[in-house]
Structure formats: C-alpha cells, structure tokens
Point group: C2
Chain length 122, copies 2
Amino acid sequence: MDNSTATTVFESLSSGVRLDIVRLLIKTGHQGLVAGEIATTLGLPATNLSFHLKALTQATLVSVTQEGRFQRYRANLAIMQELIVYLTEECCSGHPEQCFEKPLAAADCCDTNPSLSSTQTD
Amino acid sequence: MDNSTATTVFESLSSGVRLDIVRLLIKTGHQGLVAGEIATTLGLPATNLSFHLKALTQATLVSVTQEGRFQRYRANLAIMQELIVYLTEECCSGHPEQCFEKPLAAADCCDTNPSLSSTQTD
DNA sequence: ACAATACTTCAACTATAATTGAAATATTAA
DNA sequence: TTAATATTTCAATTATAGTTGAAGTATTGT
C-alpha cells in the first residue's frame, strides 16, 4: 500500500458514519448487506448513506454487486489487512528495536480470546 | 482503543500533511524533531505546521516537550500499535475463519526483511 | 402497462477543515 | 535591555465535506 492509498483509506475511516458502515459490513462478512438494511440498522437517510457508500466504494473499502433492484455491499477485508501491514511497516521504519516493545496481539486475533472483543465500546 | 478514539486517529492520519509529519517523526524515533526542522523538511509554513501539530498532539499521536525556545515533537508509537490491534480486532470480529487468509506479515516487521520497506513509495 | 420499491443523483445548503499573514508570546544572544 | 529566533495564536479567507429533499433510474410485482 502506498502513502496516497493509505491517506485515502484513513480519510474513509475518519468519518464516524463510514467507520460504522465498515464495521457493520465486516461483521456480516461475505453475506454483506443491501443498502436498505444498512440504512435501517444505522438509522441513516438513504441519500446520506448512498453518499458515504459511494465514497467507501471508490476507496475500495467496500464492494457492491447488484441483486435485482438491491445493491449488496461487502467489506473489503484484504485492504484492511494491507492497512495493518502498512502501519506495521511505518511503525518499524528505521527503528525496529523500539517497534512492538509490548506484544502485538495480532497473532492472537483469530484465537478465541474474549478479552480482545470486550474492549470494544458498542 | 474505542471507536471514537479510532475515528480521531483516522481523522488525524487522513490529511496528507499530517501523515507526512507522523511518518517523519516515526523515522526519527526517540530523538524526534523540533518544529522548525519539521517545517524545513516538509516545506511547510510555520503557522500551517503548528496547526497540524496541535491537531496531532490533541489526538495523542505525537507528544511535545519544550527545549528552551524550541518545541520537540515525537511520534507516539504506542498509539500506532493500539491502532494495529484495533484494526486486527475489527477485521476478525465475528469472522475469524476468513481473517488473514494470507499471512499478516506483522510478525516479520522487525526482521531484516528488505521486501517490506521497499514497498514504500517515498 | 402501471404502480411500488430500492437506490442514486442532483442542487442547494450547512458545517468543518485547511491555509495564510500579521500579531503575540517566550526564550536566548548580544 | 534590546534584537533576534522559535513557535503559537488570531482573524480572515478559501476549500472541502456532510446533509437534505426532490427528482431520476432501474427493477419487480400486479
């Protein structure tokens, strides 16, 4: 991931609304959600949601597929992983010795570790 | 890291200027840089830099200490690590089975692995 | 064909962020 | 103590982002 892509991704996630959308879509995984379901879940007017979904789609953080008159949105997990790699590289750049003094916990991510998910606020 | 903190951090890094500042300060590590050095390196007017440094400081992405009439800024690596953990948790939430299909590379970060740093664009 | 549904686009508006030069503050050097 | 240096704050301006209702497009159900 290059710096301008990273900026675009950060920009996308800098809106509370868009972060909520991405987190919601990550939770629904491959199934994703159609626009109306997102609107209902997050209590957003359709036009406002559409605005943010367009931004997220252009930033490739979500993908869309048409299903009849519905538009199904899915989170792009790959780019989240790339973002994690990017941040890890940046944190280490030139200073590996002070990088990750405490354990990263990334490796623990997929374990059944309730203490990780319980740190979330909503 | 809670969601509103994450939003604040993303907001901070969503500006190309601020991302440049943080990346520069990460490179200089514990030594950090005084404001004037940052301004010279990035070619920014002092007042504009000060604006962004204030935002970064309030978001706790950088810290300041006074040295006579200089202000020395340093990156807060700990919050970058927390951000990585936050993203990892979010990516995994509810879907550990599809989390990190490809290797994360986070663990390789501090190894002498030139292929990682060579992916950066500037 | 026609009405209903799902969603997007458009245009207008409001809100927030970024940039700038001038003035202010604080520290140091002469 | 006066001048120079380092940085911040302020006020004004410009630029960009977010929100909304109305209208438009496309698909489906009757």
